[in-house]
């Protein structure tokens, strides 16, 4: 038996719409198989993983908290990936954004003003953008592979955060715990509905960023340039679009959003710096971007789905004693299925029983 692909004359509109849903369905099926292999009732496990977190209001708030950074980062990455720039280091830009934004509430905590929060957010975005500009500079100036350089900078950022929290920024009144000073109230992102849960303005920022980016990609010349340069650098050159400029734009744009996500997360939900501030949001956002088919509107939905896997992992750990590592497994599987299903958009898939028998079996 062998699998053969036949290129479609035009990409299939049907499959570009349904492929993310097929991928989700396949992930749930794979999850059921995985759960029963671990000796759990698959229906119970799937229920506590995917449904239970959605049944209570406080838990919906947690969903919004987890979805906000994922959406913010993934929206930036969608611009990168569309323009064929592989920024894999969003996790590092997230961390550097959080550190640069925290400069104000940690070093100048006496300053008490309504301006504190907006300045923090802007500094976070600038920090992330500058950190992302490093791989862009190395790529354009020295032809250095941006995948490897941006990824290496993640490790550097993680170690830098670890150092600054344990060293110079350790809370002087913190009983020697490796934590920074807690942020004062004016440096904390306001909660949306404090009566019912913790969700803060972060999710609003995320949705606004997604809408604005969608508008840019759909209706502005900049969006057109991104698509042209991404699909054919040669065509872009003939049209007079600057490839170098686009590398910088894509990296700085996505770095700024990742940095903004970092400072929003720290200011909204952690309210201080800790040695580890992200459960891998920067990497999970790559899955979000692909599940959302690199479309900012799709990314909003995809961000909620991936946020659910984080919550589901925690819920499954508490209610049925599964390892919370299973969330990462689900995320990896989901990305595999998303990529495999995307093949259906551009190709017809034929499954042949042997090399001789033509069209022995056809499947899609």
């Amino acid at each position: 038996m062998r699998v053969e692909l036949e290129r479609r004359p035009q990409h299939s509109a049907l499959f570009s719409a349904v492929s993310p849903f097929i991928a989700l369905a396949l992930t749930v099926i794979a999850g059921a198989v995985l759960f029963s292999a671990m000796g759990k009732n698959p229906l119970d496990a799937l229920f506590s993983f995917f449904i239970e977190p959605l049944t209570e209001v406080w838990s919906l708030h947690e969903l919004a908290i987890k979805a906000a950074p994922l959406i913010l980062i993934a929206v930036g990455l969608s611009v990168c990936f569309r323009s064929n720039n592989w920024n894999i280091g969003a996790e590092g830009q997230f961390i550097i954004g959080a550190v640069s934004g925290s400069l104000l509430p940690i070093m100048f905590h006496e300053w008490d003003s309504v301006l504190v929060l907006p300045i923090m957010l802007i500094m976070g975005a600038i920090g992330g953008a500058l950190y992302a500009a490093i791989p862009a500079l190395l790529k354009t100036r020295f032809n250095t592979n941006e995948i490897l350089s941006s990824l290496m900078l993640v490790y550097v950022a993680q170690l830098f955060l670890d150092w600054i929290v344990r060293g110079p920024w350790r809370n002087p009144e913190g009983f020697n715990f490796p934590e920074s000073r807690e942020f004062d109230p004016e440096a904390v992102l306001p909660e949306l509905v404090p009566a019912s849960g913790r969700a803060d303005l972060g999710i609003v920022f995320a949705v606004v960023a997604a809408l604005l980016t969608w508008f840019m990609l759909s209706y502005m010349l900049r969006g057109f340039r991104i698509t042209v340069l991404g699909q054919s650098a040669r065509a872009g050159r003939f049209a007079g679009f600057s490839a170098t400029g686009m590398v910088f734009f894509a990296f700085i744009f996505s770095g700024a959003l990742a940095g903004f996500a970092g400072i929003s997360e720290v200011s909204g939900s952690i309210e201080q710096l800790q040695p580890v501030i992200s459960p891998g949001y920067g990497f999970t956002a790559i899955i979000v971007a692909f599940l959302g088919r690199l479309n900012p509107l799709g990314i909003i939905a995809a961000g909620l789905v991936l946020a659910l896997t984080y919550l589901g992992g925690e819920a499954a750990q508490i209610s049925i004693g599964l390892s919370d590592k299973i969330a990462r497994v689900f995320q990896g599987l989901l990305l595999f299925f998303v990529l495999a299903c995307d093949t259906l958009i551009h190709y017809r898939v034929h499954i042949r029983r042997s090399e001789q028998s033509e069209l022995a079996g056809e499947g899609t």
Partner: protein, 309 residues
């Protein structure tokens, strides 16, 4: 005498730190020479590490562990091969998926083994030669995986540049369309190359959990897969330069550890960051030389191939 013993001990730790990089990079080199960019090295290493540990732990035999690690790496690479070669998915994204899946799955498999004492892969002394001063203990009294890494890299060099099959593999990597027209099976060769990469990465993982630190620690690969990828670029796709690069990075890693132990006034985090920063610096130095990279980079690297019929 004491300083000789110390130098010997340090050199031994360098070989131990370099071997996993060398194994993983030499596997990836073959895959990339055939035109496949597998960014999932990190995932294959970590799954190899955990499966090797569990295999050795449950049977008590480290060699069964090594075998398990190689098989796990190979299975992971087959998954990558099926996705990118049969279903022609994007190689960069699929490699990332493999890494994410590997990190998650290894954490799950290894959860109940955290903190357990592992089984050490013992050195095998080569008769007579291991008695040589200095070189003896360093080169001829090592574990199986060290010998495999050295013989492997020499073997890969011979295979790629001295055999017909190696020539075909490089032809596929440079122009898969022409290779296909000549009647070479592009997909089959690439599957083999990717699987070789997976086996090597699995062995690199086994080295980490059976030799380097014989225990299971979550995320113990610590970016070595990515450094191995960078080494292939650094080596401009040449096996002997991979050997040199791996030992250079092993030396940096061990050097920063000794610097930490000596208690320099530099924060330990900065020293730990050195291998990652060194990777970036080295990449910049190599890739700024456009002629060198253009002549050596496999021209079809990362491109999907769908045979027309």
């Amino acid at each position: 005498m004491e300083s000789v013993a110390l130098a010997e001990a340090i050199l031994l730790t360098i070989t131990t730190a370099s071997t996993p990089l060398l194994l993983a990079a030499m596997g990836e080199l073959v895959a990339e020479r055939s035109g496949v960019l597998n960014l999932g090295v990190e995932g294959m290493i970590i799954i190899g590490a955990v499966v090797a540990f569990v295999g050795a732990f449950t049977t008590g035999n480290p060699y069964i562990g090594v075998l398990c690690g190689a098989v796990a790496g190979c299975l992971f690479s087959l998954l990558f091969g099926f996705m990118t070669l049969t279903l022609v998915t994007n190689q960069v994204a699929t490699g990332l998926a493999l890494t994410i899946l590997g990190l998650g799955l290894s954490g799950m498999i290894g959860e109940s083994f955290v903190g357990r004492a592992g089984v050490q892969l013992e050195p095998i002394a080569v008769p007579v030669l291991s008695g040589l001063p200095l070189l003896g203990p360093l080169i001829f009294n090592q574990d199986l995986l060290f010998y495999l890494s050295i013989l492997g890299v020499v073997g890969v060099g011979w295979f790629l540049f001295r055999t017909r099959l190696g020539l075909q593999l490089r032809a596929i990597g440079d122009n898969h369309g022409s290779a296909h027209a000549l009647g070479i099976s592009v997909i089959k060769t690439r599957y083999c190359a990717v699987m070789f990469g997976g086996i090597c990465a699995g062995l690199a993982g086994a080295q980490l959990s059976l030799v380097y630190t014989p225990q299971w620690v979550e995320n113990m690969s610590a970016g070595r897969g990515w450094i191995a990828l960078a080494l292939v670029v650094f080596a401009s796709w040449r096996p002997l330069r991979v050997l040199a690069g791996a030992y250079l990075f092993g030396t940096v890693t061990i050097g920063q550890l000794h610097a930490q132990a000596l208690g320099f006034a530099i924060p330990s985090q900065f020293l730990t960051a050195l291998p990652y920063l060194a990777t970036i610096v080295v990449l910049v130095l190599i890739s700024r030389n456009r002629r060198l990279t253009l002549t050596n980079t496999p021209a079809s690297l990362g491109q999907a191939f769908v045979p027309d019929r």
